[in-house]
């Protein structure tokens, strides 16, 4: 553990009553001042990890240190240093935004005068000053989310946990929230651990990220680094008929690094997209597989995910980028 590591997670396991294995030995470290992402589908163990780090749940085994304090041995010290914004909002709908912030600040042990100043400052920063004295019940989803984040920040925590911060937000509110988080990172005063099932969000916001599935880290790195590790281009071929038969036809062709079936598609990673496409299509037709659409793209986090898990990324609500692209190609 280095001095600059703000969060250290070592081999956490957790099995819920009822037998669900939520965590199967997850380990990662988050450095001071960075935004670190846990990316994975629903049920991968992201929320459980965050709940353990926020002292809300106890792991079955393993160790976790947050801002210099062990979450099991010194939960009280950890709570003073963290802000926790859960997936379920957790604000009081029958209180105003300001009242929510003031109560949160009191419970976070902030002295009164400083707290009132801080609340004004946060309301202004997050563009909530006009709505400050209205009941939260009247807020839009985006406003409520910004208030959630303000609640997490009111006591200037060293670490902020954001569990699925933009789930359920419209694209405009999501963009606003991303801008807020980017500004926070620029200020550099808080280390942020966020979970998301949006590839784009992880790509945009995170300095480093871990892709997790079935309760363990599959691969960790910077978004750019992870994508760079995958050489070549991605070719998505929509085929009529058996995708696994198509994969057999492509395996071993010169220039094909990897071919994976995905429903009615075959996703091939090739060293040089432009020259590979005619070869791929010819090989498939020779094997009796008709190709209805072809798209070429640079590797995305989706490909990183595919490469390490063997299956396509299916985040809830994620736009089906590949099939949209295929549709566009067909129309063209």
């Amino acid at each position: 553990m280095r001095a600059s590591d703000t969060i250290v997670v070592e081999d956490l396991t957790k099995r819920y009553r009822g037998g669900v294995q939520a965590l199967a030995g997850i380990s990662f470290t988050v450095r001071e001042g960075e935004i670190y992402g846990l990316l994975g589908p629903n049920g991968a163990g992201k929320s459980t990890t965050v709940r353990i780090l926020a002292t809300l749940t106890r792991p079955d085994s393993g160790r976790a240190v947050v801002a210099g304090h062990d979450v099991l041995r010194e939960p009280g010290q950890v709570r003073r240093k963290i802000g926790y914004v859960a997936q379920a909002s957790g604000v009081d709908r029958w209180a105003t935004g300001r009242e929510n912030l003031l109560l949160q600040g009191h419970l976070e042990r902030m002295p009164g005068r400083e707290l009132r100043r801080r609340v004004d400052e946060l309301l202004e920063q997050l563009g909530l000053q006009d709505a400050a004295d209205r009941l939260v019940n009247t807020y839009s989803g985006g406003m409520r989310r910004r208030l959630d984040i303000a609640m997490g920040l009111v006591h200037r925590p060293a670490v902020l946990f954001l569990d699925e911060p933009t789930t359920g937000l419209d694209p405009e509110s999501r963009a606003l929230l991303w801008a807020d988080l980017q500004r926070l990172r620029a200020e550099g005063s808080v280390t942020i651990l966020l979970t998301t099932h949006y590839l784009e969000e992880a790509d945009r916001l995170c300095d480093r990220l871990a892709i997790i599935d079935h309760g363990r880290v599959i691969v960790e790195g910077t978004p750019a680094g992870l994508k760079a590790e995958l050489r070549g281009d991605r070719v998505t071929l929509e085929v009529e008929g058996n995708a696994s038969q198509a994969v057999r036809a492509l395996d071993g062709l010169p220039g094909v690094l990897e071919a994976v079936p995905n429903g009615t598609e075959v996703i091939a990673r090739v060293s040089e997209g432009a020259t590979a496409i005619p070869l791929l299509v010819t090989a498939l037709e020779r094997a009796g597989v008709a190709v209805s659409a072809v798209t070429l793209s640079r590797p995305s986090l989706d490909d990183v995910y595919l490469h390490y898990t063997g299956h396509r990324y299916r985040g809830e609500g994620e736009p089906e980028e590949a099939s949209l692209a295929a549709g566009a190609a067909r129309r063209a």
């Binding site: 009553r17 926790y84 957790g90 604000v91 029958w94 109560l103 009191h106």
Partner: protein
């Protein structure tokens, strides 16, 4: 200890504000006592003529009973607020702060007690409007409010404890419906205990609702203050036991996460 008191106060303030912002609830909880007093008060007016009843006016007799019954039912539902905190993520947010854990339960119980104080005063006033006269005046009425608040504290602690263990609204609703009316009718809320069948009277001796009804009635109409004090002490003990139960339930809840 300092944080316990200040956190309890802050959280209590939150609950009180919420109640005042949904005033319909205050109204709804008062509709029933109005019906009990106005309707039953009329319907069973002649019941006092039965030999052994010992009270001349049924509305005098009924009002303290309705105060206690309303305190009992109102506080038994107190766990619903905590359930909505659990479901909306408010509880998780609170538990991730250094907030005093005891304050979370204490604020709920105090809020229930405070609500009972307001409701009891209103019902006593309503009884007066409907022609009741309380021999012991203001002192008696204050004692009724205190007894009702003690009972309310106990049952709100039970309700919050059950909410933490069951974590489902359905469970809480069925438990309250299952025990609510029996506990009321196994008491002298509506009829003098001398007129109850022996077995009911025997059960009623162990029923906290009945302790409160007897104490409240004696406080407004009677003169046996030793009895009022002994019932009030029993109710205080009951509230403490329920408070311990709720606190243990909270620990169980946190461990189970």
């Amino acid at each position: 200890m300092g944080w316990f008191v200040s956190d309890t106060f802050q959280l209590l303030l939150r609950h009180v504000k919420t109640t005042l912002r949904i005033p319909i609830w205050i109204l709804v909880t008062l509709v029933q006592p109005v019906i009990w007093l106005a309707l039953y008060g009329q319907l069973f007016r002649r019941i006092v003529d039965l030999p052994g009843f010992q009270v001349a006016s049924y509305i005098d007799f009924l009002t303290p009973g309705v105060v206690i019954m309303t305190a009992f039912f109102g506080s038994a539902w107190s766990g619903m607020g905590l359930l909505s905190d659990l479901n909306e993520g408010v509880m998780s947010r609170l538990l991730a702060t250094p907030v005093s854990r005891g304050a979370i339960i204490a604020a709920r119980v105090l809020h229930a007690a405070l609500t009972v104080v307001v409701q009891s005063s209103l019902i006593l006033g309503l009884g007066l409007l409907l022609g009741a006269s309380f021999a012991n005046g203001l002192a008696g009425s204050l004692a009724v409010v205190l007894v009702a608040a003690l009972l309310g504290s106990g049952f709100s602690a039970v309700s919050n404890g059950l909410a933490l263990l069951a974590r489902r609204e359905e469970t809480l609703i069925s438990v309250i419906n299952f025990f609510g009316l029996p506990l009321t009718f196994l008491s002298s809320a509506f009829i003098a205990s001398v007129l109850m069948p022996g077995w009911i009277r025997a059960i009623a001796r162990f029923n906290p609702v009945n302790w409160a009804v007897e104490a409240a009635r004696e406080a407004v109409l009677g003169s046996d203050w030793a009895m009022v004090l002994s019932r009030a002490s029993l109710l205080a003990l009951f509230a403490v036991v329920c408070g311990v139960f709720a606190t243990r339930a909270f620990v169980t809840y946190q461990r189970s996460l």
